[in-house]
């Protein structure tokens, strides 16, 4: 059941589904794209999210009920059959079990479900993996759809493109940390994230991304047009790296020469949902061809 809800007098929130799925995410993408094309006066923000979306309106120009009527029309008229996504495939290097996030997670042990394990050990155990290594393999073996951007500028929620039974799922911390290092790689619910800036956070901490996803000064070439890198619809592959490669990437970032390895891709939701495994394999082949 789709829920259309008022967020006070300036927001309309639409919950497409209570549970996460690629289908719900693609549906939200398709509806919000159509809405954007209509260029209705009075719309201030269009925020597609994981299994829902949210619109900010100026109610003096567009009554929330008129917007909801429009959204219900779109819901009926939008079909995923003719919906194509043009996005980037991106290689995202991550150093797992790095000293910086390790220091942070050890500091907040008493806020965690299992104070006697690290976040990675705990997540491996509750997801039925024999070792941390196996969990890292599962995380890095298949790519992720950037299904939502937000929280703070540029944070990507990433949903792995594998069948449901293969999805990794972890709880958030019992009580959120007050500190998370910049670029920390975390996992919560069924989502992988990179924290763009230092701050509070409740996701399990597994590692650290070598390159930024937020660049306020726009020094790096990937940030020429925007201070944030991830966009909804992008496909990220998290690749485990060594400390040597980490340091070499950090140096390129400092020099201002780092660029993400990216490829353009156009795909349809069907290609993904019919056989996520095959789609993932094709995507990785293409990224590193």
């Amino acid at each position: 059941m789709i829920r259309y809800e008022y967020g006070g007098d300036e927001f309309v929130f639409v919950e497409l589904a209570e549970e996460m799925s690629l289908e719900a995410n693609f549906r939200g993408m398709a509806i919000t794209r159509k809405l954007r094309e209509r260029q209705l006066p009075g719309i201030l923000d269009i925020c597609p999210s994981n299994a829902s979306y949210m619109i900010r309106v100026d109610p003096d120009q567009l009554h929330p009920d008129a917007l909801i009527a429009e959204l219900k029309n779109l819901e009926e008229s939008v079909s995923l059959d003719d919906f194509e996504i043009s996005a980037r495939l991106v290689d995202v290097p991550v150093l797992f079990e790095d000293p910086w996030t390790h220091e942070a997670l050890m500091r907040f042990r008493e806020r965690h479900q299992d104070p006697n394990s690290t976040d990675l050990e705990y997540a491996a155990r509750i997801n039925g993996f024999k070792s941390k290594g196996e969990l890292i393999e599962a995380i890095t073996g298949f790519p992720y759809l950037v299904s939502m951007v937000g929280f703070v500028p540029g944070l990507p929620w990433c949903y792995q493109m594998v069948p449901r039974e293969q999805q990794i799922e972890v709880p958030k911390y019992v009580r959120p940390r007050t500190f998370t290092p910049e670029r920390a790689f975390g996992f919560g619910g069924a989502f992988a994230v990179i924290y763009p800036v230092q701050g509070a956070g409740g996701y399990q901490l597994f590692g650290i991304a070598a390159a930024p996803i937020y660049d306020r000064e726009q020094r790096l070439p990937d940030f020429k047009d925007a201070i944030t890198f991830p966009k909804q619809g992008d496909i990220f592959r998290y690749r485990g790296i060594t400390m040597d490669e980490y340091e070499s990437i950090r140096k390129q970032v400092e020099d201002g020469t780092f660029r993400y390895l990216t490829k353009e891709i156009t795909f349809t939701p069907d290609e993904v949902t019919e056989n996520p495994q095959r789609f993932s394999e094709n995507v990785l082949g293409r990224l590193y061809e």
Partner: protein
């Protein structure tokens, strides 16, 4: 030029906000009490979106290095020029060398200082508002510090006669207990019927965690409808699949201590949102202090829109009065 002799507790440059970037996770920032902020600008003849200073709890000491006109509005943190009280909600002239300081807060939490021409800082993503968490906008992306030199824009849009005053009836008063109107909705289906009732019937106490990011409230615990958590949501009954948070939305992590998200808040996350503060009352939220009491009152969308248009009417009325008597 304005020279900062003492920055006060937290003084930031703000305008109407950085609108249109919510999608990338950028909150709007901007003046928290937009009614008071807008009127301060009108009293000095500025554009309604000119950058002004938002002053919190304890005011700064500022020295003007040019002759200009200013206006102070908002909660009552009594302003003084060279130690002598000056009126709030009124166009006031200052001379180069004058020092503006503030007494202790009497009511409310925030005041706005507008200066003719506006505070001249670079616009970042079309706004001069400060977003301190990411160091964006305002004066070097942060609250003011001792020794800062603020430039003032060259000219106000119009000149307003010194002594022009907002009619008393249009000056808001702030008590220590507050009724804040909300529209129930979003994921309110997650709360039990008793907890929905309890959310609206109990008197909440504002905790010390009350700032530009949000306000946290203490009271009785709220309960969620039991369910098998949907895939991807996380295990706590207050968790949902991560979604967008409206400005003013209220969430109750683990059922304990509701949080109302405000101008500098996170734009999304995985906690069920249950209600949203109406736009007219976001102005009043900005004037609430820690330890004060709040009751949430449920209103319909039409009532929220009515309240919104009443705020607009009051501002239009003041604009009219300034046009007639302030020139």
């Amino acid at each position: 030029m304005i020279h900062v002799l003492n920055p006060g507790l937290q003084t930031t440059v703000q305008d109407q906000g950085r609108i249109g970037y919510y999608e990338i996770g950028m909150p709007p920032s901007g003046a928290m009490d937009k009614y008071s902020y807008t009127i301060a600008n009108l009293l000095v003849g500025n554009d309604e979106n000119a950058a002004a200073l938002e002053i919190t709890y304890m005011g700064p000491t500022l020295e003007f290095r040019e002759n200009t006109v200013i206006a102070v509005t908002g909660g009552e943190i009594p302003p003084k020029i060279n130690g002598k009280p000056i009126p709030m909600w009124e166009t006031v002239s200052v001379a180069s060398g004058d020092q503006l300081s503030f007494d202790f807060v009497k009511q409310g939490a925030r005041v706005y200082l507008a200066v003719a021409g506006g505070v001249d800082v670079p616009a970042i993503m079309e706004s001069r508002s400060t977003y301190t968490l990411c160091g964006i906008g305002g004066f070097e992306g942060r609250a003011l510090q001792q020794g800062d030199e603020l430039r003032v824009g060259p000219v106000a849009r119009e000149s307003v006669r010194v002594g022009t005053r907002v009619p008393d009836a249009l000056i808001p008063q702030f008590a220590k207990s507050h009724e804040i109107r909300v529209v129930i909705g979003l994921c309110s289906y997650r709360l039990t019927a008793e907890s929905k009732q309890s959310f609206l019937s109990q008197e909440w106490t504002v905790t010390p965690e009350a700032n530009r990011v949000g306000y946290r409230f203490k009271g009785e615990r709220l309960g969620f409808v039991p369910r098998e958590q949907p895939f991807g949501a996380g295990s706590n009954p207050s968790n949902v699949v991560d979604l967008g948070y409206p400005i003013g939305s209220i969430q109750v992590p683990d059922g304990v201590e509701p949080i109302a998200l405000l101008n500098d808040a996170v734009t999304g996350g995985g906690y069920a949102t249950i209600a949203t503060v109406i736009s007219a009352d976001l102005n009043r939220m900005a004037q609430i202090k820690s330890n004060e009491k709040v009751r949430f009152v449920s209103v319909t969308l039409e009532e929220a829109l009515q309240a919104r248009s009443e705020v607009k009417d009051r501002i239009a009325h003041i604009k009219q009065a300034i046009a007639e008597n302030g020139r």
